[in-house]
């Protein structure tokens, strides 16, 4: 098993004349937390979308866990072991916490028509197993939340929704977790809590790798082992937080030139 979990090779994605990703090379080791930063429109979310198969790349390759996943459908990518959260929370608000997390478990349950309609005993077993798993995950974040598994998600505050989203991504035991701006829409204190949660998740889940997109530099500084800075779809810098923070090119990209 190689040390490298994920690798981009010259990844490019154009929308008409706009090159959202312009030959990006990047690699993620097992168990590493990578920060993906850059100004708005620099291609961070696009790289997530290309990685997870929402868009297929114009050029380049994505290799994951020894397998070429370039251009695979989102479903196949998910089955290969990449799970994500979204920039704007994309939970199903009218559905319960349990339902939302079980959507993430979809690839692991029996989806046959006959099984679902006729084998109620087998289904019950799967539902009970799923419940135990989901409840454990949620309890790892907040025991209060774990007592409300059948409440609709729409009734929860933002930080709880983020936690549910992360649980939905984790329930399939992915190898790589993609977090797209987890602190968006949250207060300073909530962000701090969520960071603790993410670190706790990493400690619990051995060699889970995480890529996190974030504008909150405090989060990046505290969480990441390694950072990649994008600007106009290209990688302009890479290294530890201290290294990139000192990089003059990064400062120019964020602040402009005098």
């Amino acid at each position: 098993m190689s040390d490298i979990l994920l690798e981009f090779e010259g990844l490019a994605k154009s929308f008409g004349g706009v090159r959202a990703l312009d030959g990006l090379d990047m690699s993620v080791k097992r168990g590493e937390i990578i920060g993906l930063i850059g100004p708005n429109g620099s291609g961070k979310t696009t790289s997530f979308n290309v990685m997870t198969g929402v868009y297929s790349p114009t050029q380049g390759r994505v290799r994951f866990d020894g397998q070429d996943i370039t251009g695979l459908s989102p479903r196949k990518v998910y089955e290969a072991g990449i799970a994500r959260t979204f920039q704007r929370s994309r939970l199903c608000l009218p559905l319960s916490i349990f339902d939302n997390i079980m959507i993430g478990n979809h690839a692991r349950v029996n989806n046959g028509l006959w099984f679902n309609l006729m084998n109620r005993r087998g289904l019950r077993q799967q539902v009970e197993d799923g419940y135990a798993k989901a409840r454990d995950l949620v309890a790892g974040f907040s025991s209060n939340l774990a007592d409300r598994m059948f409440d609709p998600v729409g009734a929860l505050p933002m930080i709880e929704r983020r936690r549910i989203e992360i649980c939905r991504a984790l329930v399939s035991s992915p190898k790589l977790l993609l977090l797209d701006e987890p602190s968006a829409g949250m207060t300073h204190d909530e962000t701090a809590q969520l960071m603790d949660d993410i670190l706790a998740v990493r400690d619990r889940m051995g060699d889970l790798s995480i890529i996190i997109i974030e504008h909150e530099m405090g989060v990046i500084e505290r969480l990441t082992d390694h950072c990649v800075v994008l600007s106009y779809g290209k990688k302009i810098s890479e290294g530890s937080y201290a290294q990139i923070a000192a990089d003059s090119e990064v400062q120019t990209a964020y602040l402009g030139v005098d």
């Binding site: 989102p74 479903r75 959507i103 979809h106 349950v109 799967q126 009970e128």
Partner: protein
């Protein structure tokens, strides 16, 4: 917490007593309503039902009924089926009320099918009447021109509707948004035109349909019990009731399963669903096909019952009426569909003044509902995979 609700419910009565009481009340009400002759009588009963529904909602009756369905599911389901048999029995000599009751049961089956498509998966099917018609025309052709046993013809009607629906939806199912709805509108309108110009299928005059026969027993002969000759509609009411119950059970099981969850997630967020491994295309095709089978089977039996069908019975306006059943009852709410089927089918039949204006009335009603109670008459609750299952904390 929420789960420790006391065992006494409405008016301090145990939920099971409330539940069984409600079934008895509905049976008596349904019997009287279907027999009511004068418009005044009908209006009085409608007012009574509205007040009872409103007061029940205010005093926690709905919660108690939910509790009864959850804690005593089998008993309640049994009671409801016996209740349906009781209504049929009480009306056994009355042709017209039985015809209305059976039509309502068939529309309930249609409503359940459309609810899987629209309420769960978010695909509006504006061609409900066309798929209903496909079932009926399948019956017409097969009962008069083949020796296929009528029970198989019912299934054939469902499969025919499903197959045509499949061909219709597969090309557009990958598109997001409302394209599939637009395609069904076109199909619904074209279906009637196609029938009108098609001489083989009787053109505008339509076709005769032979009666249902089960193991040599012709449904158009009234059954005799203790020497009393009953209306032949009793046969159709029993079979229609069986069909509605079966459709209800299947739909409920679908909703309470991983597949139901997948359909919900496709409705609420297609992209996110795909990112979590849901096969969006399969989910949509499955829901559309499942729904159309129910609609087609109902249409097939409807054709045999009324014994004569014409293109005018399957217009776009009828499709809209079917969609309004789903909207009135509440998206995804199966009991809501049952209540709405009663309102949409029986009310105009009983109040002849409404008959002329029923499309106007129901479109107005749907608009009012969407404005003031978008979740429908009986809003759907959070999914309970197994209602009697109360997980340990």
């Amino acid at each position: 917490m929420k789960d420790n609700t006391t065992k006494t419910g409405w008016l301090g009565l145990p939920p099971l007593v409330v539940g069984l009481g409600a079934v008895v009340a509905v049976v008596i009400f349904g019997w009287q309503f279907l027999l009511a002759e004068s418009e005044l009588e009908v209006l009085g009963l409608v007012a009574l039902a509205a007040v009872a529904g409103w007061a029940g909602g205010k005093t926690g009756l709905t919660g108690s009924l939910n509790e009864a369905m959850r804690g005593h599911g089998r008993t309640m389901n049994g009671a409801i089926m016996i209740g349906l048999l009781a209504v049929i029995g009480l009306l056994s000599e009355e042709h017209f009320p039985l015809l209305m009751l059976t039509t309502m049961l068939l529309y309930l089956t249609v409503g359940l099918g459309l609810n899987v498509q629209f309420g769960l998966t978010g695909m509006v099917n504006f061609a409900g009447a066309a798929f209903f018609g496909i079932g009926a025309y399948t019956s017409a052709v097969l009962t008069t021109h083949s020796a296929v046993p009528p029970l198989l013809i019912l299934i054939g009607g469902g499969l025919m509707a499903a197959a045509i629906g499949f061909l219709l939806i597969v090309p557009v199912v990958r598109t997001a948004g409302h394209y599939s709805a637009v395609v069904t509108i076109a199909f619904g309108v074209l279906f009637k035109t196609f029938l009108e110009v098609n001489d083989v299928l009787g053109g505008p005059q339509g076709l005769m349909v032979d009666s249902m026969k089960l193991f040599g027993w012709d449904f158009n002969d009234g059954p005799q019990l203790f020497g009393i000759e009953m209306s032949f509609y009793v046969n159709y009411a029993l079979l229609g009731g069986g069909l509605a119950v079966l459709a209800f059970m299947l739909t409920q099981r679908l909703e309470r399963s991983w597949l139901g969850l997948a359909l919900d997630s496709v409705r609420l967020d297609e992209t996110a669903s795909a990112c979590f491994g849901v096969n969006v295309v399969r989910a949509k095709v499955l829901a559309f096909t499942f729904g159309n089978i129910l609609v087609g089977v109902a249409g097939s039996l409807y054709g045999m019952m009324i014994s004569f069908i014409a293109p005018n019975s399957f217009t776009f306006a009828d499709s809209l009426l079917m969609v309004s059943i789903v909207l009135l009852g509440g998206l995804g709410s199966l009991w809501g569909t049952a209540v709405a089927a009663v309102i949409v089918v029986l009310l105009p039949e009983k109040l002849q003044i409404l008959q002329e204006y029923r499309f106007l009335l129901f479109s107005g009603l749907v608009i009012v509902m969407l404005l003031y109670r978008p979740q429908g008459l009986l809003p759907r609750g959070v999914r309970q995979f197994f209602p009697s299952w109360r997980p340990q904390r």
